[in-house]
Amino acid sequence: MSEADMVEAVSVLRDEVLDTVEHGDRDPPGTEVFDALLRALAVGGESVPGLDLALHDAVSRRLAWGDSEEVVLADAEMVFDRVLIAVERAFRDPADQMVVVEAATLVAVTVARVVALAAVARASRDRAARLREEMAQRQLREVLEKQKATIKRLEQDIEQADYSD
């Protein structure tokens, strides 16, 4: 089966793999993974130019919209599982099945790597933010010490003034 035919054959499985009915006009969870699978099949081969970039963008967008890394990863797993089941039914030729399974594994692994790197980047940002907070705390403590000294001096002045009255 040619690459174009393969993409066509897999694209008809979209409704079976994704929960398109439940989500109406909105993209169902895992759409980006399924689209990446089609892209991987269209280009073919082990190294898929642009697959990493496209998935990185798609995953970043989902994270930016508030989905957690765990949810993104779980959706990718769901798509992978369903593709494996659907492919066995939809393709008679084992060689065709193998092509799709290889592409699906590549996409699933890429998603996992993107998610892991996003988590690492988030950890780096948190570490930098913590440093910033600690420096701010040091400055605040200095200000607080000065304020306490001033308050103490003012209290003494007022006490002396009251005494003189």
Binding site: V21, D27, V109, A112
Partner: protein, 620 residues
């Protein structure tokens, strides 16, 4: 035999099969009367075809005479009774036709939303709704009735020698009992009427697949017949496919098809407006001639929006914005020209959408939303680039500040094990939970056979042989894959345990995580290549690859889960530190209020009659 109808699409086809010499099935496909039926005749000496045709003619005649006079249910029931009487009388008058009869499954359509289905015998009606096929009728066989009365189990019924003997048919008695059901159709529903020559020789899953394929009913009917013939074709086979009107296209479908085409047809208008607004004079395209600039920028965005409309995504526009602005920033470009460029492109987009809106208001509205979404995606991409730049500046400042601070105020080193927000001595991999994993979920390759297990072992052996001697991590991963893939009744626990072994103790940064994922990717490539080298059939190879791929996905998922878990303490620690900062700020604010209060009190206690310098004021 096709019969298109304005609203419902119907098609039927019948075939003699591969064994029989003549076709005893008959069909009614009459969209004018709204009646459709499959009749499967039986009886020796060519009486089967006579019976089914006789019943068919009697049914049609009854419907023609009584349609509109009686209720649909009574009409359908009466038509079948008329067919039964006709066959019974003919059998009684001609000795050679004694014992002839026919089954029937019929559908009467009054309205695209309502149909009435009736059947006698073992011809069936199925309903395909939202991709799922359900049997609407129950065969009238002696065995089925024994099962209904609890005298036979379902397993015994399957093996019963008389499982095909009918308990009811048209022609056995002048009046026969007819089962009638009323069905409310939903948009896109498909009803299949068929004889036992179809379901007896075609798997139900394949029938479901063909009915749900989205092909026109005439093609589906033809494919169903072909399916039965490929399955042996041991009986006459007939099928009628009735399709309810499909639902109106959703907004997404309209944008994906008509909208995308309308956009693409106006690409020249887009380029003209972009040129008029000064795109070719923007510093980003300095050095290019006007046509090149338009081609590289305006035409690319136009194309990216077209592809994104077609696929309901934003990847292309996102990539376009990142490439354009990212490249400019890398060359040291300023923000201003980027802003100006995207303003021009947004204006051109609006003009094109307005043009489309003038011709078709509804389409224009939908495209307005979709194109606005694409432009927002572009803005998000630009925002991401700016955020990266700011983050880099921020990080540089922090590092600079820290190095200066350490230089002048060297502090004691932090105790080991506390840097990542963990208690001393505790490793993050010892923590008991992994948030996203669902241990109760079984893996998809459970129950692998001995043959597959052996093939998995061979594949891993070949893959190991292809690794370099020092690639210990890859070898470890291959071992883990073999364990997970071979775990017949396995669950996530095996994958998680293997992932923990692989993960070990790693720093939570690129240098710690990337080598692990690179090794996992290498192992994936090795196993995929090795599967093709084992001595086995293609089917076995496909199963082995599936099992190993499943195992690989589980392993990668569990490893990613560990990376996420390792990153979690950083957020928790930050949250704690932020709380301390907040408390400190509150304390400073409270002290400030106290100071102001004391200041005021102190000012009122000053004796202004004294000369300056002897009043006792506080200097700030």
């Amino acid at each position: 035999m096709n019969a298109p109808q304005p609203q419902m699409r119907v098609a039927g086809e019948s075939h003699v099969g591969k064994i029989r010499t003549h076709n005893e099935d008959s069909m009614i496909v009459d969209s004018v009367l709204g009646i459709y039926a499959v009749l499967d005749g039986m009886g020796g000496a060519n009486a089967g075809d006579v019976a089914s045709q006789m019943a068919r003619d009697a049914m049609l005649e009854f419907v023609i005479q009584r349609r509109g006079q009686i209720a649909p249910r009574a009409l359908l029931e009466g038509a079948i009774q008329a067919g039964s009487r006709a066959v019974y009388n003919a059998a009684a008058q001609h000795r050679e036709r004694h014992g002839m009869g026919t089954t029937v499954v019929a559908c009467f359509v009054l309205d695209p939303k309502y149909v009435w289905l009736a059947h006698v015998g073992d011809s069936r009606a199925y309903l395909l709704r939202q991709g799922r096929l359900q049997l609407l009728t129950r065969d009238h066989t002696i065995v089925e009735e024994l099962v209904d009365r609890g005298l036979l189990s379902a397993e015994e019924a399957e093996r019963h020698p008389y499982k095909n003997v009918l308990s009811r048919n048209l022609g056995a008695r002048p009046d026969t009992r007819v089962d009638v059901i009323e069905l409310r159709l939903e948009p896109g529903d498909r009803v299949l009427l068929c004889s036992d020559g179809l379901y007896g020789y075609a798997p139900v899953e394949a029938m479901q697949y063909l009915l749900g394929s989205g092909d026109a009913p005439e093609h589906v009917a033809h494919d169903l017949i072909e399916l039965a013939l490929r399955g042996g074709g041991g009986d006459n086979v007939s099928a009628i496919v009735i399709e309810a009107p499909p639902p109106p296209p959703s907004a997404t479908q309209v944008v994906r098809t008509t909208g995308a085409v309308a956009w693409w047809q106006r690409r020249q208008r887009f380029l003209i407006v972009a040129k008029e607004r000064g795109l070719t004079r923007n510093p980003i395209v300095r050095g290019l001639d006007a046509n090149e600039a338009l081609e590289l920028v305006a035409s690319s965005l136009c194309q990216a929006i077209y592809h994104d409309l077609e696929k309901s995504t934003g990847v292309n526009v996102w990539t376009f914005a990142q490439n354009l602005a990212g490249g400019w920033f890398e060359r040291g470009g300023e923000w201003g020209p980027v802003r100006a460029m995207f303003d021009i492109l947004a204006t051109a987009s609006r003009v094109v959408v307005d043009d489309i809106r003038e011709g078709d208001a509804k389409l224009g509205f939908l495209l307005d939303v979709a194109v606005s979404r694409a432009l927002v995606v572009a803005e998000l991409a630009l925002g991401g680039l700016l955020a990266d730049k700011l983050r880099q500046v921020d990080t540089d400042l922090i590092e600079l500040h820290t190095s200066l601070h350490d230089k002048f105020e060297p502090s004691a080193p932090a105790p080991a094990g506390t840097d990542d927000g963990l208690e001393t001595g505790e490793r993050f991999i010892d923590r008991p939970t992994i948030p996203f994993l669902r241990p109760e979920r079984p893996v998809t390759n459970s129950g692998v056979s001995g043959e597959i297990l052996e093939a998995i072992g061979k594949t891993i052996t070949i893959a190991r042989a292809r690794t370099t001697p020092r690639a210990e991590l890859i070898k470890q991963i291959l071992g883990a894959l073999e364990t997970i893939a071979s775990d017949g009744g396995g669950n996530f626990a095996t994958a998680v345990l293997s992932a923990r072994d692989l993960y070990g103790v790693r720093p939570v940064d690129d240098a710690g995580i990337m080598p692990l994922f690179d090794a996992l990717d290498q192992a994936r490539i090795l196993t995929a290549a090795s599967v093709h080298q084992i001595q086995a059939s293609d089917t076995i190879r496909a199963k082995v690859l599936k099992a190993l791929s499943s195992a690989h996905q589980r392993l990668v998922g569990a490893t990613t889960g560990l990376a996420l878990e390792a990153a979690l303490p950083f957020a928790e620690r930050l949250h704690e530190v932020q709380q301390v900062t907040s408390e400190l700020r509150d304390q400073v604010a409270a002290a400030e209020r106290r100071r102001a209060e004391l200041e005021s009190k102190h000012a009122s206690s000053i004796d202004y009659s004294l000369p300056w310098g002897q009043r006792g004021t506080t200097e700030w």
